[in-house]
Amino acid sequence: MKTFDNEAVVARGNNDPRVTTTANTSALKTTNRDRHSHRQIWTEKLFRRVLFGMGVMMVVLVVGIMLTLVVQSIPSIKALGIGYLWGTTWDPVRDIYGAFPFLLGTLITSFLALIISIPFSFAVAIFLGEYYPKGWLPDLLKNTVELIAAVPSVIYGFWGLAVLVPIVRSFESSIGQQPIGVGIFTSSLILSIMIIPYAASLGRSMIQMVPSHLKEGAYSLGATRWEVIRSVVLPYVKSGLFAGVLLSLGRALGETMAVTMVIGNTSTIPKNIFQPGNTMASVIANELNEADRVIYSSALIELGLVLFLVTVVINMIGKRIIDRVTKD
């Protein structure tokens, strides 16, 4: 019976001094049963160590990813310095590297996509969180919106290439622009569809968490539904909605394939939003396999490093806000 006691106490990871004493007494006897329990304790320790090792491995993995990016972009950081980030010319043939066109392209596509998608994702959040939280139709809408995130980005790109590009082309010629079709505007449209679910699902859960006594208080003062939403619900969840927008932004910044397929891939600074351009992710996707010199590939990796750092910071801020909001 004693051996069983030992195991139970050790198993709980208890720091009780009793553990050591009982373990010692059982270690003194060498019956068969004790040997068995020794093996079990040993297996148990091994199991704990393996679990611990997995936790450490995750930290090592992320640190390794960051170190790899940093180490590989050192040649370009050394040779090009900080001016790399606002150099406006990207001409690998003449060994001139300036990342500004890509930074600009990434910022424009992402923010344009956010502006287009925010009304839709907030509408979904308010509809599902406040107007109709239960029922089969809201359920269907919720699941369908979540499916938007499930469709692979390469399929969005292919669809954009086949369907959206001709539409944008005729739209461009009707407003007197060069009818190119591919470009920043097209990729923003595709991106705006792709990022709707992130802000929508977070916003929905935030809106559902608004305490009902606040809303009832406003109703009892004679407020209409919309007035309750506008002056009670939205102010209450504004930081949660902001976190959702940040998560969407993180997605939009790093999105690669769909953008690569419809943005046109030119490394000059776009004059307006209908011109073709390039984002950081799309230039990496297009050129890393062709980069034949150390400095060329290293300049691309540095873009990857910037992308990594920016998305990490954005996601961390978003997570912090969510944690703070959900804790209250």
């Binding site: 139970a8 198993a11 079990q40 304790i41 297996t43 679990l51 611990f52 997995m54 936790g55 450490v56 995750m58 993995l61 640190v63 390794g64 990813i65 790899t68 590989q72 009304p119 839709f120 509408a123 979904v124 509809f127 107007y131 809408l141 919106v145 979540e146 499916l147 938007i148 499930a150 469709v151 692979p152 980005s153 390469v154 399929i155 969005y156 790109g157 292919f158 669809w159 086949a162 709707i196 209409t224 539904r225 919309w226 007035e227 939403i229 910044l253 790093g254 999105e255 394939m257 397929m261 992710a281 990496i284 996707a285 396999n289 992308l307 990594f308 990490v312 954005i314 996601n315 961390m316």
Partner: protein, 293 residues
């Protein structure tokens, strides 16, 4: 009377108006998705036939090409990625749920959060430097590096990891402590309690996390660009370049040939079906077993 009534009417009308606006906007989100689904299925379904599944792509102009190489390649790459990521992910999730307060768990959780937000192309770059670019480290073990399916699997496994870890952790956290305590009270050692009591109770949640992660990586292209690279022939060698569905779609969709576009439409249709079925299946599981992800 009228003076006091009309603002109320106005306010009620405004409330109704905004309700209409929100409902319209909310439901118009679905339109592009339905449009895309319908278009892909309409263009893809006619290209799918028996030859499509058993042949490799033919040269432009020859009829009867298929995507057997991409189907097999995708299946193998995903399988190997799952073999790498699932055990590590589940054990990592167990670690996080069993050690909620420890310092290592805090950092590990932070790293998982970071990993979840890392753009897939960055993972591709890193896998390229770890396993594709020739380095002295692997040369020491006598492995000649280059584009290989195994490096693609590694990249996808890194992408799977956070989803598996997260879903395992969240599922196990929801299980009542009394379950563990009952196991300990019977004298079971820690690993038995975890493997025979806790994990079986949370298996549906873990399973849905795994399926979700497979659905996510099945359509990932960016990490494969610099790793699995693509191959126009049938290949089963994990150490060599291998074709996969998303890579094939990307390469053929951006090519100028109609024959190749047809292959890409068929491949998109199959990929889309696979991903959607996995997602819907996951939804059903989470609903039936009331799992929260």
């Amino acid at each position: 009377m009228k003076a006091s009534n009309s603002p109320v009417k106005f306010r009620i009308g405004k409330s109704g108006f905004f309700k209409g606006v929100i409902i319209t906007l909310a439901f118009s989100c679905v339109i592009p998705l339905l449009f895309i689904l319908a278009y892909i299925i309409k263009s893809g379904i006619t290209k799918i036939n028996w030859n499509f599944f058993v042949n490799v792509p033919k040269p432009v102009g020859e009829p009867g090409g298929g995507i057997a190489n991409a189907l097999l390649g995708s299946a193998m790459i995903i399988l190997v990625a799952a073999i790498i990521a699932i055990p590590i992910g589940i054990m990592g999730g167990i670690f996080l749920s069993e050690n909620r307060k420890s310092k290592v768990a805090y950092w590990a959780r932070l790293c998982i959060d970071i990993l979840q937000g890392v753009p897939s192309i960055v993972i591709g770059i890193v896998a390229y430097f770890w396993l594709v670019k020739p380095s002295a480290f692997w040369g020491f073990f006598g492995w000649k590096q280059g584009f290989s399916a195994i490096s693609g699997s590694l990249a996808l496994a890194i992408m799977m990891l956070p989803i598996v870890v997260r879903s395992t952790e969240e599922t196990l956290k929801l299980l009542p402590d009394s379950l563990r305590e009952a196991g300990f009270a019977l004298g079971l050692p820690f690993h038995r309690v975890i493997l025979k009591v806790v994990v079986p109770c949370g298996v549906s949640g873990i399973l849905s996390g795994v399926m979700l992660s497979v659905a996510r990586i099945a359509g990932e292209t960016a990490p494969l660009l610099f790793t699995a690279f693509g191959n126009s022939y049938l290949s089963t060698n994990m150490g060599k370049p291998m074709q996969s569905l998303p890579l094939l779609i990307f390469n053929y969709a951006t090519s100028p040939y109609n024959d190749w576009h047809d292959l890409a439409w068929g491949a998109s249709c199959i990929l889309l079906m696979f991903v959607l079925v996995l997602n819907i299946f996951t939804k059903i599981i989470t609903r039936r077993w009331k799992v929260q992800l």
